[in-house]
């Protein structure tokens, strides 16, 4: 019984859901915007979780902050900038395209173009060459010559 009581106390103390019913904004359109923004913001104390999914207290605070800013009339970008100003770009799950991050964003397309270039030049070469017939060894050549002379 004692254990059960202890466990009950633990149960009540541990939040398990991410977005709580009391956090949800009355305006569905604004709530949808809040959800959208939340999914791009990282829960700073978690591992690779956005604040929308996270159970951490900090994530809850951030969710409320996002909603506060929206209610205050901020646009989505303004809300995100507000959070980034306070927590740094670590909070963004989608990295910006500033500075060195350009490399990250263009790495895929550049690699693809390079690979296609190499691939196509390889294919063209394969198309121009004639089928490789195994060359005759010297021994075979002399034998062939002797056969031809016969």
């Amino acid at each position: 019984m004692k254990r059960l009581l202890l466990a009950l106390a633990l149960l009540i103390a541990t939040p398990v859901l991410a977005v709580q019913p009391d956090e949800v904004l009355p305006d569905p359109a604004m709530e949808a915007r809040a959800r959208d923004i939340s999914q791009g913001l990282r829960c700073l104390v978690c591992r690779n979780e956005n604040i929308d999914e996270s159970n951490a207290t900090l994530a809850k605070d951030l969710r409320l902050l996002v909603r506060e800013r929206l209610v205050a009339g901020d646009t989505n970008d303004e809300v995100v900038d507000y959070v980034v100003d306070r927590y740094g770009e670590f909070v963004l799950l989608k990295p910006t395209m500033n500075g060195a991050n350009k490399v990250l964003w263009i790495a895929g397309p550049v690699m693809l173009i390079l690979a296609l270039g190499i691939g196509i030049s390889f294919i063209r070469r394969r198309g121009q060459e004639s089928e490789v017939v195994p060359e005759l060894t010297d021994e075979e050549k002399t034998r062939l010559e002797s056969l031809m002379q016969e």
Binding site: I12, V16, A18, Q20, K94, A115, I123, E131
Partner: protein, 656 residues
């Protein structure tokens, strides 16, 4: 006592692996048959020793031997037997032991079934496989010994992470490791071929079953992990672009590319050096994955070992094996002359495109995964790369792949006419566009993702079916379907399965309906046409947890669809809560219920999701894996078949 014997067996295995590496490789180089012959028995002995060692550790877990450090840290007497056993690999040390066990298993399989390989190639394959064993056995013995005893054994253990106490996750790691480590076989074949200095059609045929097996295991492992995340993490996500998930996706993509390029080597004797490079890279990415997970350089949801010493050791292994193999590759690549000639429009070209898309998409995943490290190291920027980046940067590659796949699959070898090929696929195209239009018109919110994703899935599936039908001859002959080789059926299932998975991902992502509210016991509410009643909430005791279990009924109109029991569990020993969602699985949708905390007014926080096409994701994955399996059993690819042929053909050629 058994524990010490297990430890001793592991040390012995290290020395056997050393012999298995040095003697056959040396023998193959110097033409010494006696030394080459050491390989097979050594591989078998290594397997037996590691199996014994693994058995000893399993015994310690099963009997809750708390004098062992890993057992204390990861087990508990109250834990169900299944999780006592899965606890063996639910931690860093034990999972590494499983890793080398599977490595030895593949080495043993190569020794057992490699009888038809040319003697020097066989000796080299087994030798290279042995060298990987040496590296990882040393890693275990020096940095991650599971057999460490405690001077003062506690009365009970700390329990396994409750999230891992789940049937789906119990078997997730063994399958993943079978995949990762299976790629060591293709690596060994690639390095052996480089040492031999020749790659021919027979080599392509030998390496294919191993790649296929590794790919099938990886597919199942990734599918299990994703399914687990879906029902266990409490909000129905299925892929998080977590570094550890990326670590398994990268080798999967490379294995898929390798499977296809090995076909070109086998049928057309071209793309040889590229295939060798892919084989090296595939295992390289397995090792990179191991490094990312074990070193803790990138924090992730399920990294269990954050130890710089281990990280450095694995990095060293990675550097030696990749560096060595790539060096060998640059020296020997020129020796591999391409034979087959093909034009720009041909199946060979299509497979080159397939390889480019798969390899570059894997590269995108790689750079996204390590970018936070690079940005911090070079510019001191602390940043995150999460799901939004990967969704944006990775998805286009798979869209392109899906568009091109059905066309590429039916293009003839050597030289083809695009117009004629595309014309054959008109029925599939019409069907895909019809599906696109239909779904666009019936969906309430006009998003592009759902209709396009499902149209692509339809295109893949219909294209795969047409591919099979075309295989029966110019005029479709259904009677010949049963006589088609299994590899053809395997291709249908693998390509069709990919289509089903893509449709599922698109449907789930586009049309999930979510509802969050406070519900009193006895109250009903409506979500997307379903009426849901919270009937009661009870507290109960499980074997090693305490649960809050709700009973909820789901109605569609007046008809009762399901009674679900979402739970919230608390594991007192590990002091961790978990959610167990109540899910009604359906063909077209899942109803997904989660119970949360009790609220101040006595109601319960309840989350409801309607998740369309959720099961298609894993259904498609299983079909894909089954396709691979079917192809694996094709008579043409049974290990050794190619070898006999090659031997027969090689008779007239003077010995090298």
């Amino acid at each position: 006592m058994l524990v010490e014997l297990g430890h001793f067996a592991l040390v012995m295995a290290f020395f056997v692996a050393l012999a298995q590496t040095v003697l056959p490789l040396w023998g193959a180089q110097s033409g010494n048959r006696a030394m080459m012959a050491v390989g097979e028995p050594a591989a078998m002995i290594q397997l037996v020793l590691i199996a014994f060692s693994f058995g000893a550790l399993t015994y310690a877990f099963v009997t809750s031997d708390f004098s062992l450090k890993v057992v204390v840290e990861n087990s508990h007497t109250l834990k169900p037997m299944l999780y006592k056993v899965s606890g063996v690999w639910g931690n860093h040390e034990g999972s590494m032991l499983l890793w080398v066990l599977i490595l030895a298993l593949f080495g043993g399989a190569a020794a057992l079934f490699g009888g038809n390989l040319p003697a020097t190639l066989r000796a080299r394959v087994i030798g290279v496989q042995g060298s990987i064993g040496v590296a990882f056995l040393a890693f275990i013995l020096f940095t991650s010994n599971p057999f460490l005893r405690l001077a003062m054994p506690p009365m009970n253990g700390d329990d396994l992470n409750p999230l891992l106490q789940d049937p789906g996750l119990a078997f997730h790691p063994p399958f993943l490791y079978l995949g990762y480590v299976g790629l060591s076989m293709t690596f060994s074949f690639a390095v052996a071929a480089l040492l031999e200095g020749r790659v021919d059609a027979a080599w392509g045929r030998w390496v294919r079953p191993w790649t296929l097996a590794a790919w099938v295991f990886l597919t199942i492992g990734i599918g299990l992990g994703s399914w687990w995340a879906y029902y266990e993490l409490g909000w129905g996500g299925f892929w998080f672009w977590d570094p550890v998930e990326n670590a398994s996706l990268m080798p999967w993509l490379f294995a898929a590319a390798l499977l296809h390029s090995a076909i070109v080597v086998e049928k057309r004797e071209t793309l040889k050096s590229w295939t060798i490079l892919l084989a090296i890279m595939a295992f390289g990415f397995s090792l990179i994955g191991t490094f990312l997970v074990r070193s803790g350089v990138i924090t992730s949801v399920h990294a269990f070992a954050n130890d710089p010493e281990r990280g450095v050791f694995i990095l060293l292994i990675l550097a030696i094996f990749m560096g060595g193999a790539l060096l060998l590759f640059t020296i020997r690549a020129n020796a591999m002359q391409a034979k087959g000639v093909f034009s720009l429009v041909s199946r060979e070209s299509a497979l080159v495109i397939n390889n480019i898309l798969l390899a570059v998409s894997s590269f995108v995943v790689f750079i996204g995964t390590i970018w936070p490290l690079i940005a911090e190291a070079f510019w001191g920027r602390k940043l995150s790369v999460g799901a939004p980046f990967f969704n944006a940067a990775f998805t286009p590659f798979f869209v392109a792949l899906a568009i091109l796949l059905p066309i590429g699959a039916i293009l003839p070898w050597k030289r083809a006419r695009m117009g004629a090929t595309v014309k054959k696929l008109i029925p599939s195209m019409v069907l895909a566009f019809a599906v696109l239009g239909l779904i666009w018109s019936i969906q309430t919110e006009k998003t592009l993702l759902g209709p396009v994703g499902i149209a692509l899935g339809t295109w893949l599936l219909a294209g795969a079916v047409q591919d099979l039908l075309l295989r029966t001859g110019k005029t479709v002959n259904l009677g010949r379907l049963t006589r088609l080789p299994r590899a053809d059926w395997g291709r249908l299932l693998a390509h069709g399965g990919l289509g089903i998975t893509m449709a599922g991902i698109a449907g789930l992502t586009a049309w999930t309906v979510e509802d969050i509210r406070v519900v009193q016991v006895g109250e009903t509410f409506e979500v997307a046409g379903y009426t849901i009643a919270l009937e009661k909430v009870e507290r109960a005791q499980g074997p090693n947890y305490i649960t809050t279990m709700a009973t909820m009924s789901v109605f569609e109109g007046d008809k009762k669809v399901a009674t679900l029991h979402p739970e919230k569990r608390n594991y007192p020993v590990a002091q961790m809560p978990t959610t167990e969602a109540g899910i009604d699985n359906g063909f077209l949708r899942d109803v997904y219920l989660v119970i949360g905390d009790v609220q101040s007014n006595g109601g319960w926080a309840v989350r409801t999701y309607i998740k369309p096409l959720a099961n298609w994701i894993w259904g498609g994955t299983i079909i894909m894996a089954f396709g691979g399996l079917l192809s694996l059993t094709d008579r043409r690819y049974r290990v050794g078949v190619g070898a006999r042929k090659a031997h027969g053909a090689a008779k007239g050629v003077p010995a090298e």
